[in-house]
Symmetry: C2
Subunit: 474 residues, 2 copies
């Protein structure tokens, strides 16, 4: 058999598509060692290619050793070791610009000097620096055991008691055994997923949603189903339909100042949602990480539910410090007990006592409340200013949020957010194109802007140039 | 059908045993929603009970709703939601005293004033308190971005460069892209397990081994296989046999100052082990968390292997601070890249920059080396003194370790370590009985002592009394 330069021809590309799809299934563990591959005919139909393309792809994967033919019975994944869980390879041939991992790493690993209107946090000068320095100096004088010991498995009792008073603001009466501290808000969600999910379970998220929910659920090998998010919360009719048809194990959402849209759930939607959840025995994670940015507290799902089937998670990364890593989970006491076991097994101990001591010191001082008041006022002005400037470029906010630092915007007709983000990145500006947040990939004309990172005039120059970028011609 | 007080009769106990076994399989996810239960006959044979006992157990589980009968085709797990992963329920009816979770939580959640010869860390007064306070004061004056930002996804470049110089001591030439920082040593191991394992995969550990390896692997729903540990490392003949017969995906071990035995692998064992590992394509995690306690560095598996199939993990919890949480992974660059993705997805970002800044400041100052020199000398004296006192009670160290703070000891003939630990706990002293460390549950006459926690005379009084405890009469 001649080796033709197949990958250049049209047929070659299709062969590579099929190979990528199979590799992705193995990497994502939808296919494990020894599992049978789809028949040639069925895969050809599914992928809309000819059977000979599938044969070629299978032959080449067999030559690489990934799969094996068994005479008369088809192809099987090689019975060697399970391949590692390479998350970026789970979905084949995606644009890097709309891959959740790629956007996270771009935002996190780019130098502080680079403008990051695509990132999900405030710049250092917006954070309570003086209070953090004061708390850190206090830490240097505290008991040696706080500086050296693991600390208790549920985390600092003092900080948990402070959190109880905040739950009480939502009229949730809880005791400390319904609260545990974690290494971060993401770790909180991750622990709950470990507790509740197994590979293949269905999880419901909003469309759009925080992109790291997708990354996290990929790590859990969950089946992700999404539903449209409206200005008053998730599309409740679709929600009821999906619960009946797909029976998801879990729904992850933000009730207030939803990421990326900035929308807040209405009381009626919340009530209908919880009624449907009860009928179908659905568990809900309410990620309240942006909650403190609201000018007045809107009704939370947990406030209606009383920490029964809704679990609240949160952290201090957005309002206090993302460096001092500390999140929390509030939920049913019996579940908290199991979640503490899981955290001990996977992290040995709760979050760092050094971290919880700093957070508790800042929260206990009166300065945190004052900082948040000022921050909310500053953000209200900044959202308005940035919205006006964006509108001048034909970029229209989907709604004006009650608080927070995100504007979810529609670009002018025909503009492709991924192409714009790609062009901006060539000039070292990290943007967050809509499809990063969209499981259904239907947000290509949207972009999330972080208004606190948009004071640099150079950033606006780059954005203006990038908006002229053409969408990819394929 | 009359409801008899069955649980009191002999037959009732057996019924409950069968019910517990099934519940454990469902909790541990060996049986999922919709899965068929073992046939009545086969389970009766396996568990050594009568078929009518199994019928009774299945009927009662069906009444509870956990399982359902299908006419003519047996019993199935109810097709409702997957039950949560309740780790403590995975193994039925274990003694709490030899449950890894229970011992961890006892050690972590017990007040500092309580003597803890069973715990796995040094008391605050043995840690470099002055250096930690100095580093914390320095932190209070550092850049605002360090105090407020997420930091880079692989963790502080400065600390990674410091770690490179330590790898160089083992003649491992690596670049920073082969190193990533994590939230703790346990989180490092957990990330690798997430990357490499899927439920049901076989993992090899030492017997005895660090008990949290067992807890962690339970969280991964791995199949655990163990092999005896000898004074010169794992029993290498058994190792070769197990690799051929069981084809484990992963082996987790400590090469130097093995926990709990304090033994160190010999160069010949290390070489033979790596040769067998290469033949069977086995990946190894070398947990080097106690490495700095060695008076002179012994050969590490990673030093022979050059970070190829052996991944090194470590942390600063034992020598510097367990409160400042920071661990690391050194391994193949391509794997590190995927592991960073996994850490971003599950924790959003690397370890706390606040934590890594404190660790880097302590390590960079000359005081850490001096602290370790003094600590090693103090531990040498303490190990000797405690060994002598234990011998006076008929408790014999299995070997005298080259370093560290553990003594793995055999109790006098016929003494049951679990009974002793239970008796000590009634007087508020936390001990670590041998079977906590033993997958095969063959270490009932062993106990791990932490010599640094044995200066309190009251502790010795409690131990003396506890040694008179009788083993349970069942």
């Amino acid at each position: 058999m001649d080796i033709e330069p197949q990958s250049k021809g049209r047929g070659g590309t299709r062969t590579i598509d099929v190979m990528s799809a199979i590799r992705a299934k193995v990497a994502g563990r939808a296919l494990g060692a020894g599992d049978r591959l789809p028949s040639i005919r069925s895969l050809a139909t599914t992928m809309g290619v000819s059977p000979s393309t599938v044969v070629e792809a299978y032959d080449r994967l067999a030559a690489e050793g990934l799969i094996r033919a068994r005479r008369g019975s088809g192809f099987y994944v090689s019975p060697t070791v399970t391949p590692p869980l390479a998350l970026t390879e789970v979905e084949p041939r995606r644009d890097r610009e709309v891959d959740p991992f790629w956007v996270s790493r771009q935002s996190l690993d780019t130098d502080d000097a680079v403008p990051k209107p695509g990132c999900g946090w405030l710049p250092p000068e917006w954070m309570p620096e003086a209070a953090l320095r004061r708390a850190t100096r206090g830490l240097a004088r505290t008991d040696a055991s706080v500086l050296t010991n693991y600390g208790s498995t549920s985390g600092s009792p003092a900080l948990r008691r402070l959190l109880l008073t905040r739950l009480a603001e939502d009229e949730i009466e809880a005791s400390v055994d319904r609260l545990m501290l974690t290494g971060s808000g993401t770790q909180a969600t991750d622990l709950i997923c470990r507790f509740l999910l197994r590979p293949g379970d269905t999880v419901l998220v909003d469309d759009p949603c925080y992109f790291n929910f997708r990354a996290l659920l990929r790590a859990h090998q969950a089946r992700i189903v999404s539903l449209p998010y409206t200005p008053s919360g998730p599309d409740i009719t679709r929600f009821e339909e999906i619960l009946a048809a797909e029976r998801p194990r879990l729904y992850i959402t933000n009730s207030a100042l939803h990421n990326p849209t900035g929308a807040t759930i209405s009381l009626q939607t919340a009530h209908r949602l919880l009624t449907a959840a009860a009928t179908h025995d659905l568990t809900i994670i309410e990620d309240d990480i942006f909650g403190d940015f609201e000018p007045e507290r809107s009704p939370r799902l947990t406030a209606l539910d009383g920490l029964n089937r809704v679990i609240r998670i949160g952290s201090f990364s957005k309002t206090l410090s993302a460096s001092v890593r500390c999140g929390y989970i509030a939920g049913r006491a019996d579940w908290i007990d199991h979640l503490v076991d899981l955290q001990v097994a996977t992290s040995f101990g709760g979050p760092s006592p050094v971290a919880t001591e700093i957070v508790a010191k800042v929260l206990a001082g009166g300065s945190y409340r004052k900082h948040m008041d000022e921050l909310r006022q500053k953000l209200t002005r900044t959202r308005r200013d940035v919205a006006r400037k964006l509108q001048a470029l034909g970029i229209e906010p989907w709604l004006m949020p009650r608080g927070g630092f995100f504007l979810w915007c529609r670009l002018a007709d025909g503009q492709d957010a991924t192409a714009v983000a790609r062009a901006a990145l060539e000039e070292d500006v990290v943007l967050a194109p809509g499809n990063v947040f969209s499981v259904s990939q239907t947000a290509s004309s949207f972009m999330r802007f972080n208004v606190a990172h948009m004071s640099d005039p150079r950033m606006w120059d780059v954005l203006r140039r990038a908006l002229k970028a053409k969408p990819p011609g394929r």
